[in-house]
């Protein structure tokens, strides 16, 4: 197919039109708006870097940002430990492995909004009932403090995402040759040694993929945040994505929200590019 063929451009037109109008043009306009005082209506005035400078002294935004980073770090650790453990259980020779896989993956198919509402019920009503039944104080008042809100979000996201990460680890675990494990067994390596010296190095690429997937996913989280805590108490469990949506569509501070969104974009892009870089580097080494 040559460039000047009508067919070439006809085949590309629908997606090109969509990408340009839906992603590229808004992205460019977004950069422009972030340097103005645009409020959604009328013509924007150019105000230079003011929005960006204001961001650095905006305590609300900085708190949100810090909360998101803490959340992402905790989520990455918890989700990957659970995901890998589930994958190891499911790939062992137990009979129930297919059913278990189906069960562990199930929450991933349901939207974050619905899952957040379900867990709101669990944390408030069910935890409360368990607290009353056992007399353990720790079960009471979930989601009413910043800490329980934080761990509530971690539990919700782990429950949802561990099954997804499990699938990724399974794909790599199943590629580990059976005879290598057998050979090590004959040489007298125990289960832990076999995992440490054979399975682990062969599954290493899965760690890069999973770590970055959990990182970008937890950094961008919105639905779960909205439905589980909605930022309560006092916006202390609000994350960046939600902060942007709120300042744009609740406070109608469009240009300021767009400056936050630009910062958000830069961070997400840097994280993703780091992953691409690491993957490329490894491919070269192999």
């Amino acid at each position: 197919m040559r460039n000047r063929d009508a067919a070439y451009w006809l085949f590309l037109t629908p997606v090109l039109a969509a990408l340009i109008l839906v992603v590229i043009v808004p992205l460019i306009y977004g950069f422009y708006y972030s340097f103005t005082n645009w409020n959604g209506l009328g013509t924007p005035d150019f105000i230079g870097l003011k929005n960006y400078l204001d961001l650095f002294t905006d305590k609300g935004f900085l708190d949100t940002f810090w909360f998101t980073i803490k959340f992402s770090v905790a989520a990455i650790v918890v989700i990957n430990i659970i995901g890998l453990s589930l994958a190891l259980i499911v790939t062992s020779k137990i009979k129930s492995s297919n059913i278990l896989r189906t069960v562990f993956f199930m929450p991933n198919l349901i939207g974050g909004l619905i899952l957040g509402f379900i867990w709101q019920f669990i944390f408030i009503k069910v935890f409360g009932a368990i607290g009353d039944l056992t007399g353990i104080e720790a079960f009471n008042g979930w989601l009413s403090t910043t800490d329980t809100g934080f761990w509530g979000l971690i539990i919700l996201t782990s429950w949802q995402m561990a099954g997804y990460i499990m699938i990724i680890y399974i794909a790599y675990l199943q590629a580990v040759p059976e005879d290598l494990i057998e050979a090590a067994k004959i040489d007298g390596a125990n289960t832990f040694q076999r995992f440490r010296h054979i399975t682990f190095p062969l599954v290493a690429p899965a760690f890069t993929v999973s770590l970055f997937l959990t990182l970008s996913h937890s950094f961008k989280i919105y639905d779960q945040n909205l439905s589980l805590t909605n930022g309560a108490p006092y916006n202390s469990t609000e994350m960046v994505a939600m902060n942007i949506v709120k300042s744009a569509f609740t406070e109608n501070d469009m240009a300021y929200a767009q400056a936050k969104a630009v910062i958000f974009f830069v961070i997400v892009a840097v994280v993703s590019l780091t992953q691409v870089y690491i993957n490329k580097k490894r491919e070269v080494e192999l």
Binding site: L19, L21, P26, I167
Partner: protein
């Protein structure tokens, strides 16, 4: 003997974890059958009397059939056009090895890095100006957001389909569209299933974009309607839980029939 014991232990741990994993669903369903008073008196136990009343009321309040139809329509049409147009584009890009193709492919892949929040404000403003904040506009947006990953996945598969097939068909007198539609597209079927699954999962569950684009009563998708419904009945758990249960049923049914393809699709999409 030791091996056997170890497997038994693993099986047992797996069983406990599975119970734990399913318990939120169990608690949701059981409590959805309780009367309001029952939930407060005994959250953990079985209902003292099972009632369908909550479901009847939630079904009406959610306008469930219409809401379900909206979700099916938007997800269905979006996924079909993403599949067809992305496959066409990936085909053109893979069969034309010019600088323009490499550049366009790079642009599509790079667009995957852009988070939704960083384009949503101008996007909604601009589509609003042209009166496109409606279902058609929403579907077009899904094409824009969904095509990048889809083109990337199709492109990988197309590299493995020999060009000699195209040439043979050309000699037989087929034009580009006929070659694509009758020869290439059928060969892409396994990838089309993967692309379809990956896209339908996020589009079906998406809340933020529809909440910004379709405001009008009667055109809400399931997540959108559920959000309003939950806000309305937040202290009335019996109704809220019945609504949540109802809204999950379509997904569970789909998962029951297609779990193999779904899990395979997820693995293919994530590992590449």
């Amino acid at each position: 003997m030791r091996e056997k014991w170890k497997l038994w232990l693993l099986g047992f741990i797996g069983f406990i974890l599975a119970i734990l994993w399913l318990s939120p669903f169990y608690l949701m369903i059981v409590n959805a059958f309780k009367m309001k008073r029952d939930i407060f008196a005994d959250t953990l136990g079985l209902p003292s009397a099972w009632t369908f009343e909550n479901f009847v009321q939630a079904f009406e309040q959610l306008d469930f059939l219409r809401t379900l139809f909206n979700s099916l329509l938007i997800s269905g049409v979006s996924v079909v056009i993403i599949i067809i147009f992305s496959a066409m584009a990936a085909y053109a890009l893979s069969r034309n090895k010019s600088k323009i193709s490499s550049l366009l492919f790079f642009v599509f892949v790079a667009a995957m890095l852009i988070p939704f929040q960083s384009v949503m404000i101008p996007l909604v403003a601009q589509f609003g100006q042209f009166g496109m904040l409606n279902k058609a506009g929403l579907i077009f947006m899904y094409l824009g957001f969904g095509c990048s990953l889809s083109i990337f996945l199709y492109h990988g598969t197309l590299k493995g389909i020999p060009v000699s097939l195209d040439e043979a068909a050309k000699i037989d007198g087929a034009n580009r569209f006929q070659i694509f539609w009758h020869i290439i597209f059928p060969l892409l079927k396994p990838m089309s299933i993967t692309v379809g699954i990956l896209n339908v999962i996020w589009i079906w569950n998406d809340y933020l974009l529809p909440s910004l684009v379709i405001g009008g009563a009667g055109s809400e998708t399931i997540p959108l309607k559920l959000f309003f419904f939950f806000g309305q009945y937040t202290k009335q758990w019996h109704l809220a839980l019945a609504g949540l249960t109802l809204s999950i049923i379509p997904v569970i049914i789909a998962y029951f029939f297609a779990q193999r393809q779904i899990i395979k699709g997820i693995a293919d999409g994530a590992v590449k």
